[in-house]
């Protein structure tokens, strides 16, 4: 491959020892660590030569077990053995489609769900940090010293909250994070550089719990992501679960205890894996109840029960192609990544869709970690002359903010190349309005309620003016990790406010330091105070919104409805004076429900207003 020639800034560069840099693939099912040795990326195996570490953490009576040891005990201690923790990163209990599928003691916490274990309540960030720490120690033992920098991969379709949680976990594990890198992009680097590829490629990445599709153009050493799409809650795990459900039904089994459920799930996964090379696979297990399971899963049955899941991956593929403004015929090759792409079902579906057999001359488990190691090496300044390439990646989901009527206004559309900085002007809604809440959201839907809320911040001290006279410029900046910071400035007075958008449950630098030192002593107390503070912010926000809505569009309300809203408002005010987050949240929820009808009608009104006046200028920001 001919590469871009870029002059060394200060020649001649002194020869120095390469810095210790690693790439980590933090997977749903398995994780890996890799480094670049003498110019060649290699996976660092454990003492027994195993490259993969199962992403499983067991909080055992005698300490924390990670990987194979934890996996071996999972059926005996399912509640304290956390598998697939990546599914919970940056997710609340309400986000989990079916929390009964998991045997854990979930603890509702602001924003991100937590898990009760015998070592106390653990956030997914802490569990992930335990996995990352063991990989860091493995690398340090083999590299002979402290790791100076790491690139950690994330699914391309991870939103801001999930990315932030991953970065926090890495820092908690004592890693200096050079970059969060999208998994399919990492795979493209490893594949592209190894094969001197040029042209447009698709990376189909089906992992244990996440699915990504990225379309990249490779031109003379530049890896340009044209579009990405996916599903951050779809992966090999779901195929296992389908088999598990089938076994329950086919074996006419009663509801299972957690340990039996885990055992049957493990057997289901083994059967799925066996079907890669066979036409049928046995599922045989003796349950604690004395029941014997003895089933045979054929590949035809498997195809039938997983048909829907396979189709579910093709939808984002079509969307990514459309966003890239490309056709299937434009794709020169399809790279398969992720252990789940070993399934013949998947390979056939991909081949059929793209009209060509996928490229399989690389190890789908290792390619992401290898690409991450190459990126870490480059970011550390270790690259050799001539070893010159560049990544141009995108954000997977649109970023915007809430405008009147609960509608989301996009500021940075999905598939914008990062880093990106984009500004848009907004104005006040009421006469004399002196403050404005900037509510930052991520997602493609029109209604804020259907998008992910990332942060709220306030711009105060706006000089009183007539409604529509103030000019507030909101600027979004997304860095090369895909993380957002936002700021707002009133143009007339110069008043300014800004936040680095951390989802409200994200960890501040101070939080991390504290957790690193001593996390357990006051945890419960801190949590309660923080939970209340956050519920209070939400309560104030909602109460203000509802009052505004009633003031602006009260004519849309029937008398009885209005009384219900007033009562709900009073209830929120009462609990706001207390200190119990739970009851305040309940009151907020009740107010939410009471005002739902009004919100919907107001939205209809604003939509019909927008439509009647819909012409070019309303479609354009500035």
């Amino acid at each position: 491959m001919s590469l871009l020639q870029i002059a060394e800034p200060d020649e001649p560069a002194p020869r120095r020892e390469p810095k210790r840099a690693i790439g980590i693939d933090l997977g749903t099912t398995n994780s890996l660590v890799a480094t670049v040795r003498n110019g060649i990326p290699v996976v660092l195996p454990d003492e027994e030569g195993r490259p993969l570490v199962p992403s499983i953490v067991r909080y055992a009576p005698e300490g924390v077990e990670v990987g194979h040891a934890a996996m071996a005990r999972q059926s005996q201690d399912p509640q304290n053995t956390i598998v697939s923790v990546k599914r919970f990163m940056g997710r609340g209990l309400a986000d989990l489609a079916d929390d009964r599928r998991f045997p854990y003691h979930f603890v509702e916490a602001p924003g991100m769900v937590q898990i009760g274990t015998r070592h106390g309540v653990k956030s997914p960030v802490e569990v992930s940090a335990d996995i990352l720490r063991s990989l860091r120690l493995r690398a340090e033992a083999q590299l002979g010293g402290t790791v100076e920098g790491a690139v950690v991969t994330v699914p391309a379709y991870f939103d801001d909250a999930q990315r932030q949680a991953t970065k926090d976990a890495a820092r908690l594990a004592g890693l200096e994070v050079l970059r969060l890198l999208n998994e399919p992009t990492a795979a493209a680097i490893a594949y592209g550089l190894d094969n001197a590829a040029e042209g447009v490629y698709a990376v189909y990445d089906l992992g244990g719990g996440t699915f990504d599709i990225s379309i990249l153009r490779l031109t003379r050493g530049v890896f340009e992501v044209l579009a990405t799409s996916g599903d951050s809650a779809l992966g090999g795990d779901d195929f296992d679960h389908r088999v598990f459900c089938w076994a329950l039904e086919a074996g006419k089994l009663p509801p299972l205890a957690p340990s039996d459920a885990r055992l049957l799930l493990v057997k289901s996964r083994e059967a799925k894996e066996m079907l890669t090379g066979h036409q049928a696979a046995p599922i045989v297990a003796r349950l604690a109840t004395g029941d014997d399971v003895n089933l045979s899963l054929t590949s035809d049955t498997f195809a039938g029960i997983t048909q829907q899941l396979v189709q579910k991956t093709l939808q984002p593929v079509r969307r990514a192609l459309r966003d890239a403004k490309l056709d299937v015929a434009d794709i020169k090759g399809v790279v398969l990544v992720g252990g789940a792409t070993r399934m013949p079902r998947i390979r056939r579906a991909v081949a059929e869709f793209f009209g060509q057999p996928p490229l399989t001359n690389l190890n789908p488990d290792e390619v992401v970690a290898l690409g991450a190691a190459m990126q870490a090496n480059a970011l550390m300044g270790n690259r050799e002359r001539g070893d010159d390439w560049l990544l141009l990646d995108v954000i997977p989901l649109s970023l915007g903010l809430e405008t009147m009527g609960g509608l989301a206004e996009k500021i940075v559309p999905r598939n914008s190349t990062i880093p990106v900085s984009r500004a848009q002007e907004f104005t006040t809604y009421r006469d004399g309005q002196t403050a404005m809440v900037i509510h930052v959201v991520q997602g493609e839907r029109e209604r804020v309620a259907d998008c992910r809320s990332l942060a709220r911040f306030e711009l105060r001290g706006i000089p009183p003016m007539a409604a529509g006279a103030a000019r507030i410029r909101v600027t979004f900046q997304v860095d090369a990790d895909g993380l957002l910071s936002a700021s707002a400035r009133e143009q007339v007075s110069g008043i300014e406010a800004s936040v680095v958008v951390k989802p409200s449950y994200g960890l501040s630098d101070g939080d991390i330091a504290r957790m690193l030192q001593d996390s357990y002593a006051h945890a419960a107390e801190d949590m309660a105070a923080r939970a209340f503070a956050e519920a209070a912010v939400e309560a104030d926000q909602l109460a203000e919104q509802v009052r505004n809505a009633v003031a602006a569009d009260g004519d849309l309300l029937e008398e009885r409805e209005r009384a219900t809203i007033d009562a709900a408002l009073a209830e929120v005010a009462r609990h706001r004076g207390g200190d119990d987050a739970g009851s305040l949240r309940a009151a907020v929820e009740a107010l939410n429900r009471a005002s739902e009808g009004l919100a919907a009608r107001r939205m209809d009104r604003s939509v019909s207003k927008a439509l009647s006046g819909r012409n070019v200028d309303t479609l354009v920001g500035e």
Partner: protein
């Protein structure tokens, strides 16, 4: 680092005109990013990395504006002091609006009857119209500039883009 005072065309070393060579634009974009992208400064100081972020974002912004015909035309008009999207004057010819309204209706009907091929045909039709409109714009902007007519063509092009986007959304919904 790059000179932030230069306009988009200067930044990319391209002639100030609507008709562009997309290959030259792409190639120049990659060269610029190879110089300023934050990844080039991974081992650099905090300040260097911040500057790289700004410069790289600036290059991305310019590339986006130059690559998109509507944005490129708006930018050219803005350089001449004309605001194509001025909210005080948003008139579009009635026959154009009627044609678009009718197009939207046909799309909505096709979506209703889940006629994917029909929607795709409508999308192709809009695309042809956009290409024709771009040809007009090149003549209006690069020849003897008629700012007022160019302004209207930009708004029509923007409107067509929005209609195309709506049809794409309908297609996407049928996919689900």
């Amino acid at each position: 680092m790059i000179d932030f005072s230069r306009n988009h065309f200067e930044l990319f070393g391209l002639p100030v005109r609507f008709a562009t060579d997309p290959d030259a634009l792409d190639a120049r974009y990659r060269e610029l990013q190879a110089e300023v992208h934050p990844d080039r400064f991974g081992a650099g100081s905090e300040t260097e990395r911040r500057l790289a972020h700004q410069a790289s974002a600036r290059v991305n912004e310019a590339y986006r504006a130059l690559r998109d015909p509507v944005e490129r035309a708006r930018y050219l008009l803005a350089m001449r002091g004309v605001d194509a999207m001025d909210q005080k004057d948003t008139k579009l010819p009635l026959d154009f609006l009627e044609a678009q309204l009718e197009c939207r209706e046909r799309a909505a009907e096709a979506a209703e009857s889940e006629d994917i091929a029909g929607l795709e045909a409508i999308l192709a039709g809009i695309h042809r119209e956009r290409v024709a409109r771009q040809g007009e714009l090149a003549a209006l902007l690069d020849g003897e500039c008629d700012a007022e007519r160019a302004r209207q063509a930009v708004r029509e092009l923007k409107f067509l883009a929005k209609v195309a986007e709506d049809v794409e959304t309908m297609l996407e919904a049928l996919d689900a």
